[in-house]
């Protein structure tokens, strides 16, 4: 263990704040040894709180600079936060996993999941898990009532996520055990493999591949513990206020083309059209849809579907909010219930959907334009909307079968390079990762978010036209103009900070309705009532800022510079929109200025991305001064 003995006290001398279980489990898969670490003392704990911030800090302190993503030395640090599993707030469901990303090889990989797993990890007695080393045989970790053990996962190796979940639940003999696992994609090191949990939930951005490299198939948790609460009455009151800010989802929305409708267009045929037609939702009206919310959250994002029309009628699908898996297959020309069928397949195999769609999209476009033919594709017809071929390609990618399976597992950049010709111009990617699959291109806030991502691969933020009502005491701007870049970098930076805060306290940013009055304040109050700390909104934003800064410091240490943000972007992502209301719009003409401005506003050098010393001092991160921009 490198250089982090001071983080975890042998015995805690300060009072454990409410909301925490007090322990992190450290598992060395190489030796099979396990031990409990005490949570850090204050002021360290108060500074990083939990979630991404605490997890990143641990990783920064422990991960050698020359670690390789699939090497034994890479670690996965998974952390919940104090409001995870209190039960009295919506959105208290989050666990965030961080590691060195195999997609980029030099930035922070981060996957976050909701559902029930994080809550049950705490019920099993732990705030987080640190996974080190690599097992020699397929293994799963079972934590029951504070007792961890490593078990043989040979029986479930090769199985899809859903079946793995069911089999492991049966194997441990506990009906309400919760499972986070990888599908075949993780086992076969598909770079963008996901962690899958609770049927409907996926933590994307490569965590599954790192699990696979460690031969760790799953973590099964079960327990009855609950965190102590500092002020239960106040928490109930704040939690109810939070609940009142939610924009509740409805069944009817699950019969639409999803988030594409809100964004003003769906990606079609590898981002070459944004038109949404009736055929996109064909059969949706006949399906049986059931809302399946996360633990104690009334926003009702996740849902189940039983297809009642089309060739795959009878298929059960389990989805969360977002609907990027729908746009994933729209982008490949698939329509209606076939898209839902394939979406269920890709989630079960555990491939991050955009990674697949952006790679296959390039290959299909190459077929259309004559760069590929049946001879080169092994007889498979790379035609838009060919469900059988896409179904086959999913299996090939998840198992790295054959030439194309391997390429799609690698990623869209590798696919385009292998095809050659003009194909590299057709890629959508950012720093070799892929954006959550929607057509973000008409929107400044979301595009700057996808491009910068604080030096990581998974962005947060997105901004808003006006400042959130709860921040009006300090934010005197707005409304921003959707056709004018002025103000958007700050709007994104600000939203990154409050969304980060929501995550690192163990909350879900989907349940953070920042544009409603009390949408941020009720969350900060819930956090204070749980822990007994007394954060104001400025301190909450600062905690979010600190988390984003740790993300970029991790990249800085391994070779990321801010210039990568706008130089390493797939050309298609920056092309003018082909059609629709915003036809011709592109953020490209305002690059790199918007990227520069964003990094300056976050307290980093605009070109190197290194934090200024003043920023580190303000955030209490002086220990990372060797990575600061000194001139």
């Amino acid at each position: 263990m490198a250089n982090s003995a001071d983080i975890f006290p042998r015995e805690r001398k300060t009072r454990l704040p409410g909301g925490y279980m007090g322990r992190i489990l450290r598992v060395d898969l190489t030796t099979g040894s396990m031990r409990d670490e005490n949570l850090p003392e204050e002021p360290l704990l108060r500074k990083f709180i939990g979630g991404q911030a605490l997890a990143s800090y641990i990783l920064l302190r422990e991960l050698p600079l020359d670690a390789k993503p699939y090497g034994r030395e890479n670690k996965v640090v998974m952390m919940t936060g104090p409001i995870t599993g209190t039960g009295f707030t919506p959105g208290g469901t989050k666990v965030t996993a961080v590691y060195l990303s195999p997609l980029t090889n030099h930035t922070l990989g981060r996957g976050a999941a909701s559902g029930f797993w994080a809550v049950t990890l705490k019920a099993a007695g732990y705030d987080g898990v640190i996974i080190e080393g690599a097992a020699s045989n397929p293994t799963y970790l079972f934590i029951n009532e504070g007792k961890p053990e490593l078990r043989d996962a040979g029986r479930v190796w090769g199985k899809g996520a859903l079946e793995t979940e069911d089999l492991l639940r049966a194997e441990v003999g506990l009906k309400d055990a919760r499972v986070m696992c990888i599908g075949p994609a993780g086992e076969n090191l598909v770079h963008a493999a996901m962690l899958c949990n609770d049927y409907n939930h996926n933590a994307a951005h490569s965590g599954g591949a790192v699990f696979g490299s460690k031969k760790l198939k799953a973590i099964v948790v079960h327990g009855t513990a609950r965190p102590s609460l500092h002020d239960r009455e106040r928490l109930i009151e704040a939690g109810l206020r939070w609940r009142n800010t939610l924009v509740v989802r409805h069944e009817a929305e699950k019969r639409t083309a999803g988030h594409a409708v809100d964004l003003g267009g769906a990606p079609n045929f590898n981002f070459r059209s944004t038109v949404i037609e009736e055929s996109h939702i064909e059969g949706f009206d006949k399906n049986r849809v059931t809302l399946r919310p996360c633990f104690q959250c009334q926003r009702l994002c996740p849902w189940d579907v039983e297809l009642k029309a089309g060739k795959h009628s009878g298929t059960l699908g389990h989805f969360n909010a977002g609907s990027e898996w729908l746009d994933t297959f729209y982008n490949l020309g698939v329509r209606g219930n076939d898209a839902l069928y394939l979406a269920q397949r890709i989630n079960d195999l555990g491939i991050e959907c955009s990674h697949f769609s952006c790679g296959v999209g390039v290959a299909f476009e190459a077929w259309e334009k004559g760069l590929l033919n049946a001879e080169k594709t092994g007889g498979l017809k790379f035609e838009w909307g060919n469900v059988e071929v896409i179904d086959r390609l999913l299996d090939m990618a998840a198992r790295r079968e054959g030439y194309w399976g391997n390429l799609f597992a690698e990623g869209p950049v590798e696919v385009a390079e292998a095809i050659g010709g003009d194909a590299p111009k057709w890629i959508v990617h950012t720093k070799k990762g892929t954006p959550a699959l929607h057509d973000w291109r008409p929107h400044f806030g979301q595009m700057i978010r996808e491009i910068v991502a604080s030096g990581g691969m998974k962005p947060q933020g997105g901004g808003s036209v006006n400042p959130p009502p709860d921040l009006k005491y300090r934010e005197k701007w707005g409304p921003l103009d959707r056709d004018n870049p002025a103000g958007w970098p700050w709007s994104n930076a600000l939203s990154e900070q409050y969304r980060q805060f929501c995550g690192l306290i163990g909350g879900c940013w989907f349940a953070q309705m920042h544009m409603k009055p009390d949408g941020i304040k009720s969350i900060v109050d819930s956090f204070n009532a749980t822990t007994g700390w007394n954060f104001d909104i400025d301190q909450a934003l600062e905690a979010g800022h600190r988390s984003a800064m740790l993300q970029s410091i991790f990249g800085t240490q391994r070779g990321w510079i801010a210039e990568h943000d706008w130089k390493e972007v797939g050309p298609r992502f920056l092309e003018p929109l082909p059609d629709g209301k915003h036809k011709g719009f592109t953020i490209a003409k305002w690059l790199p200025d918007m990227v520069y401005e964003y990094h300056r506003l976050m307290g980093r050098h605009e070109k190197t991305g290194r934090p200024f010393m003043d920023t580190l001092k303000k955030l209490g991160l002086e220990e990372f001064e060797e990575w600061a921009q000194l001139d």
Partner: protein
């Protein structure tokens, strides 16, 4: 109140004496179990073990499968009977029927004899392994006494649970049954309960027992259990003394315990 129950069971008042009822609408329920967890949250019960009723899990949602994996769901918890057999058989009068609806087991008085567990027509009372006392849903009598709804009701994200005055909820139940082509369960069962269901399919499909309309229905307390209590030190000397004393001052209350095969009481 007194007239309705005679002197057959202990009764009490929490607030204003107006009876209240919980409504469970199966057509709206999505089986998310937020009510189950909310019950645990309010009562500070251990987190998991969601699939079986126990002394620390007062509500289950049937069938016992993962959320989302069943097309229909039913609630299983104390029905808060108007004529609670559990209260009628309790030898130490630890169970009180409150005018506002709740049937509540007083943990200080309970001697753990298990009669109520066998007497309940719905089988929703469990014994705590540590305290050895009987335990079940209280209809959040602590909240009802402050004129608040039970915590499970306020937690429901899809308004499948409702709470209000008995007459209003009864009317709502009938209206919902009409709208959904279903029927109301709980209004006649065991003489009526203060938890009404609107169901569409037959009771069995929901895992809900068919219970006859008889008030204080015949119990299934094993004879051996009764004899054990009479002839051994089970339940302690204090428990026996209290049971004996109560039998002497309320002899009528013995009727349901020792004459289970009687006709309508």
């Amino acid at each position: 109140m007194g007239q309705k129950y005679g002197a057959l069971i202990p009764t009490g008042r929490l607030l204003d004496g107006r009876p209240r009822t919980i409504l469970f609408d199966a057509a709206k329920c999505i089986g998310c179990r937020q009510c189950v967890q909310a019950c645990k949250d309010w009562n500070d019960h251990p987190r998991t073990t969601l699939y079986e009723l126990s002394s620390t899990n007062w509500i289950t949602m049937e069938p016992p499968v993962l959320e989302g994996l069943s097309p229909i769901w039913a609630r299983n918890s104390c029905m808060h009977c108007e004529f609670p057999m559990c209260a009628a058989v309790c030898p130490v009068e630890a169970i009180t029927k409150y005018e506002e609806g709740p049937v509540v087991i007083n943990q200080d008085t309970c001697i753990g004899c298990e009669y109520c567990i066998y007497a309940c027509p719905w089988g929703v009372i469990a014994k705590n392994d540590i305290t050895h006392k009987a335990s079940k849903c209280t209809m959040c009598s602590d909240r009802v006494s402050e004129n608040k709804s039970p915590f499970c009701v306020q937690a429901c994200p899809v308004q499948a649970l409702d709470f209000g005055f008995q007459d209003e909820i009864s009317a709502k139940a009938k209206q919902r049954a009409e709208e959904t082509g279903g029927y109301v369960y709980g209004e006649k069962e065991a003489g009526g309960s203060q938890l009404l269901y609107v169901l569409k399919e037959k009771e069995e499909s929901y895992g809900v027992p068919a219970v006859g309309p008889q008030k204080y229905p015949r119990h299934r307390i094993p004879l051996v259990l009764m004899l054990k209590d009479l002839f051994t030190l089970r339940c302690g000397l204090a428990g026996k003394a209290r049971a004996l004393y109560l039998a002497l001052i309320h002899p009528k209350r013995l009727i349901y315990r020792y004459w289970p095969w009687r006709k309508e009481g």
